[in-house]
Symmetry: C2
């Protein structure tokens, strides 16, 4: 029999932050709110909704407060906001009552951290320690994601020990959840299995999360490997939006609908309504005015029975 | 440590048959020959080059004889032709000295077999028995692929016992290799692991091959699961061309360059030069005049170090 898989997994939808952030054309606040409200009615129970970054650096997310104040979110959903530093947290706390979790981040490689947030890793982590304590004291849930956890486009392979060391630092300052981000799609399933096995073993009581990109088509293979290692927490983006596409033109985050389809087919429950997520991805496609790259947005769930097939094929 | 994987795997490039077959515009014979000659210099040692089907049904492959006579193929490469029936074999044998293997096929579901080749499964298998014996008596290698092995778009799930029964029938008539085709992208990794484990166990001495489509984005996840089950033989298509896209607009075959990239990253050797395959896929892109859907054609191998990355992301 196949390797035993967890009976269920949790999905955090990151499209409203990670997806929208990478769109070159500004999406109207009203469109963002409508799409988020639609996502919030698909059975998803976690949504990363905004990032409190400098508006001159990421103009697309300058309306974070308006979005947070404008959405209509069912009670059971936990909303997450991303903050790059302590100043970001200051801004987020102006609408403290509108979200539940705060995500920090740092890169596992110095060069990427420098280019991403213009700081050394140690400086970021010193700031993250302050941020984590403030989040906790506000009664919010501190979470973290380690970028370039599977490799850096500038430095190449990142030692597993280094990535795990950063994870332990986040755990030590009270992060309830630590994600491993495959920022530019350098993860492969064998490595994923090993690092998730190690992280789950070394950080008992901490939620270990997977944030994969589909840059080189391995996103779902990595998700399968993470599941095999016992990971039950995943981040993905409806329509396969966003995910810091590097190199330019690449796909980014794994698509929520493709991930859920695979999980459901394998009997791993998510509580999410797949057709409803596909509908939301199609709505995003309409808003953005272009074809998105998720697979199930075209092919649908596997129980679709199309009318035709080609001949002479297999 | 991660589940033990095979040290190496074999890839059959099926783009010149399975890929070209699904192109709506006729590709010139000269362009086909140039692309095949390029593929034959990438380290690939197996290429499925043509199908001997009725020209009125698949006009794209009407030049099979001209292609076979026109290509310049290094000695170490085994060329495969596909035949839908005994009449197809008659036509193939007119250029008997130009190829090495012949692939038969049948669907695991009655409805798909009827729509694909207009016959019942039993009729197809009776013909395949005659074809297999003739292939063997010609000193060629008989191979087979079972379509809809992981599900049928008309009938839904196909019982594993039924698919394995057909595989045993192919083995009984002398097939040296039997592939399991995920015709419309209904396979998931847990099922893949189980059926490949069973097939390898029940058919010792037969090469068990995987023919996956990326219809719902799970192609490489399924390849990883097949590897874990001990499968070392894979079919794929450069550029992610072809693969009977159902529903219309879906992607088909897994991309050779994406598969090889994942295998090499995991330390599974293929003998294939990845940048050379990417070059061939880009040449196909030029010939076809449109962007293809493979990932590595855009992102390149993981050792690429692009100049830029977005800010404030993970």
């Amino acid at each position: 029999m196949s390797p035993k898989l967890p009976a269920k997994a949790r999905i955090r939808e990151v499209g409203p932050r990670d997806g929208f952030q990478n769109e070159p054309e500004i999406i109207s606040t009203a469109d963002k709110i409508a799409l988020i409200n639609q996502l919030a009615r698909t059975g998803l129970d976690r949504i990363e909704i905004a990032s409190f970054v400098r508006a001159d650096i990421i103009p697309q997310l300058a309306d974070a407060v308006e979005v947070l104040n404008g959405v209509d979110i069912p009670e059971h959903i936990a909303l997450t906001v991303l903050v790059p530093n302590n100043r970001g947290l200051d801004n987020a706390l102006k609408v403290r009552e509108r979200f539940h979790e705060v995500a920090m981040f740092v890169s596992a490689s110095e060069t990427h951290n420098k280019r991403n947030v213009n700081r050394a890793i140690d400086e970021s982590m010193a700031d993250n320690e302050i941020v984590a304590k403030r989040i906790d004291s506000e009664g919010l849930r501190p979470t973290a994601v380690i970028a370039t956890a599977f490799g850096c486009p500038f430095e190449g392979k990142v030692p597993m020990a280094r990535t795990l060391e950063i994870a332990e630092q986040f755990a030590a300052v009270g992060c309830a959840e630590i994600g491993f981000g495959d920022t530019t799609g350098m993860a492969h399933p064998a490595y994923v299995f090993d690092i998730f096995s190690a992280a789950i073993d070394r950080l008992p009581g901490v939620e270990i999360a997977a944030h994969f990109h589909n840059t080189r088509g391995q996103g779902l293979a990595n998700a399968y490997a993470a599941l095999q290692a016992g990971c039950t927490s995943f981040e993905s983006s409806f329509g396969e939006l966003g995910g810091c596409p590097v190199p330019a033109g690449s796909t980014g985050n794994i698509a929520t609908e493709d991930l859920i389809n695979m999980f459901h087919e394998m009997g791993v429950a998510t509580g999410v309504n797949l057709p409803a997520v596909i509908d939301a991805a199609r709505a995003a496609q309409s808003v953005l005015g272009r074809k998105l790259t998720s697979h199930c947005i075209v092919a649908g769930p596997v129980d679709w029975h199309p009318d035709g097939t080609a001949t002479g094929c297999h």
